[in-house]
Amino acid sequence: MFDLANLALLGPWLVLSLGIMATMLVSSIRIETRLPAKIVTIITLVLVMITSIGLFSEGTKTVLNGYIEISKLSCMTLFFMSGISLMFVVGSGGYLNKEKIHISDYYNLLLLMVFGASILVSAKDLFVMFIALEVMSLPAYALVGFRRNDSRSNEAAIKYFILGGALGAIFLMGTSFIFGASGSTQLAQIFEWSKGYNGDLLLFVVGHLLVLFAFLFKVAAAPFHFWKPDVYEGAPVSVTGLMATVITTAAFVVLVRLFHLVDFQSTTFAPYLESLKQLIRVVAVMSLVGGSTVLILQKNLKRMLAYSSINHTGYLLLGLLGTLSKPDQIYSIWFYLAGYSIITCGLFLMLSQSTTTNDQGLELVDLTGLMKKNPYFATVLSIFFLSMVGMPFTVGFFTKYTVFMSSISAGEVGFVVIAAICAVIGAYGYLRPIALMVMRDPDPSSASFVGTKFNQAMIIILAALCIILGIFPQALIQLTKGLELIP
């Protein structure tokens, strides 16, 4: 069924596709002229933000035969992802120039990636999810390997590509099992099927677990995390930032959807819920403990942030654990994703502005004495790191607050205690750079930060957001409480 009203509902995706084509055209003229591509990208992302806000009030609708869902959740995620991408596009020009990879293809690939992510968060069909996953991942592989002359960048791209391809295959295999069990690949129909089903679960469970593993891989929950540090380290900083924010957000939204694939109220699936919870517990504890302990051993900042993101995945899974028994706590996950993305975006934009003589990338010791050398950068960087710790008056506190609350309300007190101890361990890791910046005198080998005007503006906005949301989080909490997960 196709009519013009449906076309309007697809606004953000149409805008994105047009933007992708436009950047492609622009880059075909001359690859070094990047300004037109950049402008087109910025306009596209702004338009996506506007159109997704427009759709926000539409309520829940499905278009394209139920393959794509327009809901508050998908619109909000889309708005948020394009906002973060916009920050990166505006803020990382200086870095790309410095690395000599500032060509218009970068913007084309970036838009493609956002396009894939945007379909992923609104897909209501396992096959659409797979296609969206590939549309999102393929440009990401290319972006990771964008520093062509750097062997580590190439290594990261190959690693990411092979593992990404493998997980795509695993996902497809899981899909086929689920299809075999339930007779459908549409999420809504699978949910309906599960309500009345009371036969053998084995086929479905195998399929479901495979599908889940694929996405646990994508969000890099331990023990599926080993690709992450290498990829983070090798990729250009702005790409790492995009991966940590846009791809993580999209993948986690899908993961939450997949966890709520069947109706756990039905008697057939109730025992399965218990084993699923057990699975999340194991994965969450491994991510929390592994992420936080390895985090404090790292010397390279990007690797440190990779382990930090594994640690944060653990917190998110803790929130997810709560939502499986208390569905009204699901806002904690959205809130956490939003807060975490803001912090991470700020951190990576900061890192992209460093100049270091070290060719291993920015090491922790390079931050020595930054407070004396460059108080502005040191202060902002400290704000981001304190947010990561979860200090009061930063957004990081309330993100932790909501997920802890979520799993406590599901009765998981022991796991919250483990998470709390991991927070202390992680705090040591995040405070080390602050201590180096504030308490030491600068030495000549330490890095210096030179931000472009745009970059500084973006960073200040993000740091301000960190603090404002740390004092007045109501607005965002209200917003995220309105985002329901529709089966």
């Binding site: 009061p392 609350m405 309300s409 007190v413 705090a427 040591y428 504030v438 308490m439």
Partner: protein, 479 residues
């Protein structure tokens, strides 16, 4: 409880002070800090003098903040918190008058951090919402750590880390306990609340075991006080911190732990508290003696003062753990007196350090002849610290022992030995730096001007309350 809209002034004033300090020229930062902190103290006295604290009375104010998460900004000034708020106002005024490297290097940052610290401390002392209390309790770290890190001496980084991680460990377990409590109250009443008054009802329910939550709170506050065996962070931080931070820590931050025991652990977990009373009393008594022995063998005068602080706080905890109203009152009295005494001792010690710049602390000696007035003041401070009758400390320690004796005679007697040991190390401390052979004669002047006035005022208060504790007790007695 009386509703009062003025309580927020105690929070807004330091917060404004913290923000506005960035617009004040560097040269007049000290003047500005003194002015604002005096205003703060005056506001505190004004508000306190208009309230009636008898029979559980006081002032209350509720502001909406995060009602979605069950958090409200609930402030309460009652007979417990009023003394801590006033102490914080007074000590801050004293501290900010102290001249030193902090007013030469990054002075704006120092003033700003100081007022932020006061803001956080006042929030912690006033709030009856557990989450707001936790927020403030954590927020205290930020200025403290930065102060030690920026203006501290040699081994500051390691000491700050140990301090932060130990404290953070305790307080995050407290946070989890707060969550659990509010979850329990949600189960019981269907209302997600983190307000003290709502959560207090939980302990009445004998079906619920709160001992794990109790441990969470206990760790947080015991590390902060610190109570043996959680005192590991203290010495290094006290020694390496700049004097304002040391005074703040010994006079006020440790009291935050004491306050937590009185305000939160008591009402929330009374049945569990009673269960563990014996162990806790023993720990408090052991703290007193152990720290006293450590102080006796200590060569470095600043470390000696740090250990003496642990010893005195053991006394305070003894009062708290006697679990009677009278014991609690005496613990508050001793808290205030210890706050004043340790402030004056560290203050004077800083004046000595300034006069002997470049000389290792271990080699201080024979200075009484050179700075007679300073050392007379120090002598009065030392006497106050070893609780000579007629000083404020004597009142506090006497009352504590009086009220702890019926509960546990053994622990009280053991702590009594701590008083004797106290005079050993304090007199040794005075003898070492005051008398003996003077090595170098420097031409710096004796104590004078602002410093002299401040020290005299504190000493006068200590002696006045030593003879007239009834005024003080009248206000606290009806907790």
């Amino acid at each position: 409880m009386e509703n009062n809209q003025e309580l927020t002034a105690l929070l807004i004033l330091p917060l404004l002070g913290s923000l506005l300090s960035w617009f004040i020229p560097k040269a007049s930062q000290r003047l500005y800090a003194l002015l604002v902190s005096f205003l703060q103290l005056a506001t505190g006295i004004y508000i306190a003098s208009h309230a009636n604290f008898t029979k559980g009375g006081g002032l209350e104010q509720t502001l909406p903040w995060l009602s979605d998460l069950g958090i409200q900004l609930q402030l309460r000034l009652d007979s417990t918190s009023v003394w801590f708020v006033l102490l914080s106002g007074f000590v801050s005024f004293v501290v900010l008058g102290l001249k030193g490297s902090w007013y030469r290097k990054q002075a704006r940052l120092f003033t700003s951090l100081s007022f932020f610290l006061i803001f956080a401390m006042n929030t912690a002392f006033l709030s009856t919402n557990l989450i707001v209390f936790y927020l403030a309790y954590e927020a205290v770290f930020i200025p403290m750590i930065l102060m030690v890190g920026i203006w501290g001496t040699n081994a500051k980084a390691t000491s700050v880390f140990r301090f932060f991680l130990m404290s953070f460990f305790g307080s995050i377990l407290m946070l989890v306990s707060i969550f659990y409590l509010s979850y329990l109250s949600f189960l019981k009443t269907g209302n997600l609340s983190t307000n003290l008054d709502d959560l207090m009802k939980l302990s009445a329910d004998s079906n619920i075991s709160l001992s794990l939550c109790f441990v969470g709170f206990l760790l947080a506050f015991a590390i902060k006080v610190p109570l043996f065996p959680f005192h590991g962070w203290l010495k290094e931080v006290y020694v390496n911190a700049p004097t304002p931070a040391t005074i703040w820590m010994s006079s006020l931050l440790s009291k935050l732990g004491v306050f937590g025991f009185i305000r939160f652990i008591g009402p929330l977990f009374m049945p569990t508290f009673v269960e563990y009373q014996g162990v806790l009393l023993a720990l408090a008594a052991f703290s007193v003696i152990y720290a006293a022995f450590l102080a006796i063998q200590e060569k470095n005068p600043k470390s000696l003062l740090a250990y003496s602080s642990i010893s005195h706080l053991g006394f305070v905890m003894l009062g708290v753990f006697s679990l009677s109203d009278a014991g609690r009152t005496s613990a508050i009295v001793l808290s205030v007196s210890h706050g004043l005494t340790s402030a004056v001792l560290f203050y004077l010690y800083d004046l000595i350090e300034v006069r002997k710049e470049g000389i290792s602390m271990d080699r201080y000696s024979g200075m009484a002849r050179q700075y007679p007035i300073l050392f007379v003041c120090l002598f009065i401070g030392v006497l106050a610290s070893l609780s000579l009758p007629g000083t404020f400390n004597f009142v506090g320690e006497f009352l504590v022992m009086l009220h702890a004796y019926p509960v546990s005679a053994l622990c009280t007697i053991l702590s009594g030995i701590g008083v004797i040991l106290g005079s050993v190390y304090m007199l040794k401390f005075y003898q070492r730096i005051g008398f003996g052979k003077s090595e170098e004669m420097t031409s710096t002047a004796d104590i004078h001007g602002f410093d002299l006035i401040v020290v005299m005022v504190i000493l006068a208060i200590i002696i006045y309350f030593g003879f007239q504790p009834s005024i003080f007790l009248g206000g606290v007695d009806n907790v």
